[in-house]
Symmetry: C2
Amino acid sequence: MTHYTKSACIRGKVLLLLALRYDLNPMIPNLELMAKAIQLSHESMNSLSGGPFAAIIVKDGEVISEGTNSVTAWNDPTAHAEIVAIRRACTKLQTFQLTGCDIYSTCEPCPMCLGAIYWARPKALYFAAERTDAAQAGFDDRFIYEQLTLPVHERTLPTMQTMREEAARVLKEWISKPDKREY
Amino acid sequence: MTHYTKSACIRGKVLLLLALRYDLNPMIPNLELMAKAIQLSHESMNSLSGGPFAAIIVKDGEVISEGTNSVTAWNDPTAHAEIVAIRRACTKLQTFQLTGCDIYSTCEPCPMCLGAIYWARPKALYFAAERTDAAQAGFDDRFIYEQLTLPVHERTLPTMQTMREEAARVLKEWISKPDKREY
């Protein structure tokens, strides 16, 4: 374990003792895993594949997948670390649900990634840097969080609704579809 | 054009006339494209590849890509229609930015997809059904929107922050990195 995880280790142990003392259901981060993710984010940044972000997905102590931001290398604006890791984990586990998995992300997930995490339904999320840290480094995370809470007509993205009735008819058909596979 | 787009066509023309009358910069939806997307969402639902959603991306009148929800067919919780269409459009255009593109989605994008749309930076978004219609059909869109606005400790997803300082150090390094490719 590298030197910079020592203070975090002590913090982790103190949290665990407090949680046990007050009979809370403790979330115990695996600090070696988070340190590994931070190391990956650093390597990814230096390899010029994308932004300085990484994520690791683990289940029952076993690493299922790793992902690093690959937006610019892959020409894919959705290739954030968490999305890459989720897609790889689902391919490996042959499922679209990450039941029982923990996600470690080097940064608070942006709305796209947090949405993806909710759809994947893992057991828990551990993150390191905050959206404000990402914003200071020039990333739009905080801005997009703000945009999502605004009414459609107040957003910077020109947006218009049309043909709601016709599309809602298909959604209604889904409700009564007998052979659908829900997700 | 199928019969169910007629009322929408009239609505579109009225909107255009109003926009021109009041000297607004009008957003003019291409209703044939939205009707095509709705048709795709219906076909996708019946082919059991995923939920009843589709998206089309267009630039300068040319269709760049189509996407349908493929979550269950591909074992990929991120394979929503908009994400699929964005990734295909970016592959085709060899870019991670959809500058000048319009996105047509058969439903108001969920937070994951709206986040992806913001990262892709298209010109405009047109959508048909609302998040409430999706919720009525059993999809979590509205629930995830609500979760995203909550403080971390109030969310249903157990979440914990750790090692912020170490991760933020990498983000700070990114700021002064001379050869970075911003996105």
